[in-house]
């Protein structure tokens, strides 16, 4: 008789539903309960690098903004290190590299402030262009969607990025590239995420 493989099976995902804010951002649901909510400060005060703002909309297959979405951000610091034992090196005190944002219930706008990350090692000695890792959950999304945000002022690094180059359809790569602008003299990157349709954002099975 052959031996059985005694692995456990991953717990199945379910949608975060319409009231995800109660659990993960109770202030937005309309009540204060915790001493501190988690995820509002991604980089901390001591982080080196350029301070940037990122903002956008999540848009559904009908072209409407999704107003009940929650996005988590995971990023390296300006030196390309993640705040993790296997993250490649030390990070500044207070740099968590993780954040959580929700949309404005009326407009669907979301935004967050952080520092621009540095390049991170890729596989087989390659170098990945600076990027933010995003995870998107909402009502109607059965399994959280993973995507990446790259920066349009990093065109040389983007052209050599192993993940962008993995996308066979060149005309889909720009869906991952945020556009730099200025707002009150400060750098802001615009990144709209299209869940479905003509401009559908590339999502990853990571």
């Amino acid at each position: 008789m052959p031996q059985t493989l005694n692995y456990l099976r991953e717990t199945a995902s379910q949608t975060a539903g319409p009231y995800v804010h109660i659990g993960l951002a109770p202030g937005a649901a309309g009540f204060d309960i915790y001493r501190q909510e988690l995820g509002w400060d991604i980089a901390g005060r001591n982080a080196e690098g350029e301070r940037i703002r990122v903002e956008g909309l999540v848009i559904d297959g009908t072209g409407s903004p999704v107003k009940d979405v929650l996005i988590e951000i995971w990023q390296a610091n300006a030196q390309g290190h993640y705040a993790h034992p296997e993250g490649g090196g030390p990070v500044e005190d207070g740099f968590r590299g993780w954040g959580r944002v929700i949309t404005d219930f009326d407009t669907g706008q979301w935004g967050f402030e952080t520092v621009k990350p540095g390049s991170v090692p890729g596989r087989n000695g390659s170098v990945q262009a600076p990027h933010l890792n995003l995870w998107i959950v909402a009502r109607g999304i059965n399994v959280g969607l993973n995507t990446r945000l790259y920066f349009d002022d990093e065109s040389d690094a983007n052209a050599a990025d192993p993940v962008l180059n993995l996308i066979e359809w060149q005309n889909r790569r720009p869906t991952l590239i945020a556009k730099r602008g200025l707002q009150d003299g400060k750098p802001v990157y615009r990144f709209d995420i299209h869940l479905q349709g003509e401009h559908e954002t590339v999502f990853f099975d990571v």
């Binding site: 692995y7 456990l8 099976r9 717990t11 199945a12 995902s13 379910q14 949608t15 975060a16 539903g17 009231y19 995800v20 804010h21 109660i22 659990g23 109770p26 649901a29 309309g30 009540f31 309960i33 001493r35 988690l38 559904d60 297959g61 988590e72 995971w74 390296a76 993640y82 705040a83 993790h84 590299g97 219930f105 991170v120 090692p121 890729g122 596989r123 990945q128 890792n133 959950v137 909402a138 109607g140 999304i141 059965n142 399994v143 959280g144 969607l145 993973n146 990446r148 993940v163 993995l166 996308i167 889909r172 869940l195 479905q196 349709g197 590339v202 999502f203 990853f204 099975d205 990571v206």
Partner: protein
């Protein structure tokens, strides 16, 4: 540079697909293009870590964390407990588990919930905790009620608690829902039924746990959570994941 030990590929046949028209909201919110598969890099095998400075000791007690002094919420007092493990059956210590739920009448404390069942003045409906060194966690709460939702005209969600877990890597990130043993709404719920695999649904159903029940106080349900496992890298000494 050394290649990081990878996480097992997610078995997408046990997870719900994106497009599940019985759950209507998924129709316009599901990508139509195939996901692009990525091999793990530092961006995938790392993830945020949390400590006891981030949360407070009473955050896992929903019976007291929003109650007025001397009062408590109305409903069936329960303990929800279990372990967070990976697919290799290794416990995941010090990982953040967050939950949220409706009150005993199926009403959420959320400005967007307009269901006519009343708010409970002593119940907030959220909690969070870190697993201990054995991956163990517990919450005290009241059992949530079923509630109606606008999908088809007469759809009711089974009693459920939303559960969010981190693990050690961003690729282990998971949000799911915990249901309760014996609930007849489970097999007819369009959201539950987005999951194609009956065994995977069964794994979302918390079991009555008399051994953990506190006599004359609270009944208990056990809910173990399994996150993705990690490959061993042969012939290398690793500090973590092995």
């Amino acid at each position: 540079m050394r290649q990081p030990a990878e996480y097992y590929q997610r078995d997408r046949t046990l997870h719900p697909p994106a497009y599940t028209p019985g759950y209507k909201t998924s129709v316009a919110r599901s990508p139509r293009q195939a996901l692009i598969s990525l091999e793990n890099t530092a961006s995938e095998i790392t993830g945020p870590r949390f400590g006891h400075g981030d949360i407070d000791p009473g955050d896992n007690d929903l019976i007291s964390n929003y109650a007025r002094p001397g009062e408590s919420p109305i409903g069936e007092r329960i303990i929800l407990h279990g372990r967070v493990l990976d697919e290799n059956a290794r416990p995941l210590p010090r990982t953040l588990v967050e939950i949220w739920q409706a009150n005993a009448g199926g009403r959420y404390r959320h400005r967007k919930d307009t269901y006519l069942a009343p708010i409970d003045p002593n119940f907030g409906g959220c909690g969070r905790t870190l697993t201990d060194e054995n991956g163990y966690f517990f919450f005290r709460t009241v059992k949530p009620g079923a509630y109606p939702w606008r999908n088809m005209v007469n759809n009711w969600r089974p009693a459920h608690i939303h559960v969010s877990v981190f693990g050690a890597a961003f690729v282990q990130r998971l949000i799911t829902q915990c249901y309760f043993e014996g609930d007849p709404l489970i097999p007819i719920c369009p959201i539950v039924q987005t999951i194609p695999d009956p065994q995977a649904i069964e794994q979302l159903v918390a079991k009555l746990d008399l051994n953990a029940t506190i006599p004359l106080d609270s009944i208990a349900y056990k809910f173990d959570i399994v996150l993705r496992g990690r490959r061993s890298t042969l012939f290398e000494n690793r500090l973590e994941g092995n």
